[in-house]
C-alpha cells in the first residue's frame, strides 16, 4: 500500500514540478538530448561548487568534520535531483523506476545489513565525536591521521603513508585512542642504571636534564618513579609533559640527552652480559683478524651540487 501511495505521489509531483523546469527548458528549443546535456553541464558544476562552498563555510565555523558532512548532505541530494531531471528530459517516467527501485531497495536492505550497520554507526560517530578530521587515532594496531569520517567508514593515513579504511561499525565496537585530543601529553622515558649508582644522584641528574630542555613543561613538573629492580639494573621512569605537537621531539631528545649526560658523569647504563663457551673450557676462543673493507663510494647527490 505504502509503495503504491509513494508512486502515486511521485507521479503527481512529477507532473506538477515538471511544469516549471521542463517548460523553461522546452522554451529553450533543441531536442531532449540537448536539454539533458545542458542540465548536466550546468547542474553538475553547480552542485559540485555549491557543495564545496558549503563545506568550506561550515568547516570554518564548526570544524573540518562537519564541513565534510555538510558538503555531502548538499552534493548527493543535488546529484539525485539532477539525475531525476535528466531522466525526465529524456522521456523516462520516474514512477515505474522508483517503484522498481523500492522493491530493489527492500531486497538490497536485507542483503546489506552490514552496510546499514555502518551507516548507523557513522551517525553515532558524528554525534559522539570521539575524534575529528586531522586527529591522530589508534584503532587496534593501526595508528594514523584521520582523513575523513564518512557514512560507511573512517579513512586514515598511517605515518608510513598507507591508506587504511576502517568500517564505522568496527570503530564503534573497538577501543579507540585519540592521541591529539588534549593539548598536552606526557612522555615517559624508561632508563636503567647499575646497582652501584647512587639513585638519589641519578634522580637529580634526570631532573636537571628535563629542566634544561625548554620543550619540557616546568608545570606539570617532571617526575621520577623507581619502577623496580631488574636483572642487572635499577629501573627508573622519568615522566615529562610537553605539547602534543612536540611529543615525539621531546621523547627523542630526552633519550639522547640522558645518554650523553650519563656518559659525561660516568653513570653506567648496564646491559646483560653474555659469556660464550666454545665447548672446550681449556682452549681459547678462536679469533680471526679480518682486513677492513674499503668504504663505499659516496652516492651521487650526497653533497649539494
Amino acid at each position: 500500500m505504502r509503495l503504491s501511495a509513494l508512486v502515486a505521489a511521485i507521479q503527481v509531483a512529477d507532473t506538477e514540478s515538471a511544469g516549471g523546469l521542463s517548460q523553461w527548458f522546452a522554451g529553450l528549443g533543441g531536442g531532449p538530448i540537448l536539454r539533458a546535456a545542458l542540465l548536466v553541464v550546468i547542474g553538475f558544476p553547480a552542485a559540485y561548487w555549491g557543495a564545496k562552498w558549503i563545506r568550506r563555510f561550515i568547516a570554518e565555523r564548526h570544524g573540518a568534520q562537519w564541513g565534510l558532512v555538510a558538503g555531502k548532505v548538499v552534493f548527493y541530494p543535488a546529484l539525485l535531483l539532477l539525475m531525476i531531471s535528466v531522466l525526465r528530459e529524456l522521456g523516462f517516467s520516474l514512477a515505474p523506476l522508483l517503484g522498481a527501485a523500492g522493491i530493489l531497495g527492500i531486497a538490497l536492505g536485507f542483503a546489506s545489513q552490514t552496510s546499514v550497520s555502518n551507516v548507523i554507526s557513522g551517525f553515532f560517530l558524528l554525534g559522539e565525536q570521539p575524534f575529528a578530521v586531522d586527529d591522530v587515532i589508534q584503532v587496534g594496531d593501526t595508528t594514523g591521521r584521520v582523513m575523513s569520517v564518512d557514512m560507511l567508514s573512517v579513512k586514515l593515513r598511517t605515518f608510513d603513508n598507507r591508506f587504511v579504511r576502517i568500517p564505522n561499525e568496527t570503530i564503534i565496537k573497538t577501543q579507540v585512542t585519540t592521541a591529539t585530543r588534549f593539548p598536552l601529553r606526557r612522555a615517559d622515558v624508561s632508563v636503567g642504571v647499575a646497582y652501584k649508582e647512587d639513585v638519589k644522584r641519578v634522580h637529580e641528574v634526570l631532573l636537571t636534564v628535563a629542566d634544561r630542555n625548554p620543550l619540557c613543561m616546568m608545570e606539570p613538573p617532571p617526575k621520577i618513579f623507581v619502577d623496580g629492580f631488574g636483572d642487572s639494573s635499577v629501573n627508573l621512569r622519568l615522566t615529562v609533559w610537553t605539547t602534543t605537537e612536540n611529543f615525539w621531539d621531546v621523547k627523542n631528545q630526552m633519550h639522547e640527552e640522558i645518554k650523553s649526560e650519563f656518559d659525561r658523569l660516568g653513570i653506567e647504563i648496564p646491559f646483560p652480559h653474555r659469556t660464550l663457551y666454545t665447548g672446550l673450557a681449556t682452549e681459547p676462543l678462536p679469533v680471526e683478524m679480518v682486513r677492513p673493507e674499503q668504504p663505499p663510494a659516496a652516492p651521487i647527490g650526497a653533497s649539494p651540487l
Binding site: 606526557r186 630542555n213 625548554p214 619540557c216 613543561m217 616546568m218 608545570e219 606539570p220 617526575k223 605539547t243
Partner: protein, 272 residues
C-alpha cells in the same frame, strides 16, 4: 651591559643602540649583540641573509637551534632594490609568562606591593617597505614551556624565574631585558601567597628611556573571584620612566576590563 654593534663599511645604522633601521646596500653586512643573542645581517646581491647565535647560559644549557652563526644557521630572504632597509625592534613574548619568585612571598589582606620583573625580549627583524614584512622573531633567552591552569582549561605559557625585586637600580638594566613594574593588590579577606603569577605580556608595550627599556605598569587586583583577578594595564610608560618614548606596540590590543587567573592556586594538575 653586552650591547655591541659591529659594522662592515656600507651598512648604515640609523638609530642609537641595537634598535632601529639599518640600510644594507649590496655587499654590506652588520653584526649585533643583544645580550646573549647575536644577530648577523648580510646583503648578497638580491638577497638578505640573516643568522642568529646564542651564548650558552649559566647552567650550561645550549641553544636548541641556530646554534652558532655557522653557514647552516643562515636564512636567506629574497630582496629587491639597490639598497634595502632592515628594522631591528624589540618585542615581548607571544604567550603569557608564568613568573615564579625565587623566594615566594605573601600579601596580607588590603596590602599593595610593587615588584619589578625583568623580562627577556624577542628580537624582531622586519624588511622596511610600504608594508613592513616580519622576517624573523627570535627570543634573546630561550624560556621553558609551561602550562598555566588545569589540564582542561589551561593555556600554554613560558616559565620565568625571577627575584621579584622591590626596587630597581642602574645595574639591573640590560639591552635584552625589559623592566616590568607590577602592582599587586590583595583585596580579598585572605592572605595571598605569591608563588607564581601569570603576566600577559602580549598586551604590553615597550618604552625607551635612554638605554633603559620599560614595559607598561600592570595593576593586578586579587579579589578571590572565580573569574580571576582584575588586570589594568596603563597605556603610558611607568612613573619611573615618565616621558619615555614608545619603542614597540603590544602584539595584542589591551582589552578593557580584563580578568584572568593570575595567581597560582592549582594543587596538582596531573592528579598524582
Amino acid at each position: 651591559m653586552t650591547e655591541n654593534r659591529t659594522q662592515i663599511p656600507g651598512a648604515v645604522a640609523q638609530a642609537e643602540g641595537p634598535w632601529g633601521a639599518i640600510d644594507l646596500p649590496v655587499g654590506a653586512s652588520t653584526e649585533l649583540d643583544i645580550g646573549p643573542l647575536g644577530v648577523a645581517l648580510r646583503r648578497e646581491r638580491s638577497e638578505l641573509w640573516i643568522a642568529v647565535k646564542r651564548e650558552l647560559d649559566g647552567s650550561g644549557a645550549a641553544a636548541t637551534h641556530n646554534e652558532g652563526a655557522t653557514e647552516n644557521a643562515w636564512t636567506r630572504w629574497a630582496a629587491a632594490g639597490e639598497s634595502i632597509q632592515a628594522r631591528i625592534s624589540p618585542a615581548l613574548a607571544d604567550r603569557p609568562l608564568v613568573v615564579a619568585p625565587e623566594v615566594p612571598f605573601r600579601l596580607a589582606p588590603g596590602i599593595t606591593a610593587r615588584i619589578y620583573v625583568r623580562i627577556p625580549l624577542w628580537v624582531r627583524i622586519t624588511l622596511a617597505g610600504p608594508t613592513d614584512v616580519v622576517l624573523l622573531e627570535e627570543p634573546t633567552v630561550v624560556m621553558s614551556d609551561t602550562w598555566w591552569g588545569d589540564l582542561g582549561t589551561g593555556e600554554l605559557a613560558y616559565w620565568l624565574p625571577t627575584r621579584a625585586r622591590r626596587e630597581v637600580d642602574d645595574t639591573l638594566f640590560e639591552p635584552h631585558l625589559v623592566m616590568c613594574p607590577l602592582v599587586l593588590e590583595n583585596e580579598s579577606e585572605d592572605t595571598l601567597p605569591v608563588e607564581k603569577l601569570a603576566i600577559r605580556v602580549m598586551h604590553m608595550s615597550i618604552f625607551r628611556s635612554g638605554s633603559r627599556l620599560w614595559a607598561n605598569q600592570t595593576l593586578v587586583r586579587y579579589e578571590d573571584e572565580p573569574e580571576g583577578s582584575r588586570i589594568d594595564m596603563a597605556e603610558r610608560p611607568p612613573t619611573e620612566a615618565a616621558g619615555a618614548e614608545l619603542l614597540s606596540s603590544p602584539r595584542e590590543k589591551i582589552p578593557r576590563g580584563l580578568r584572568a587567573t593570575t595567581f597560582a592556586k592549582f594543587k596538582s594538575i596531573t592528579g598524582f
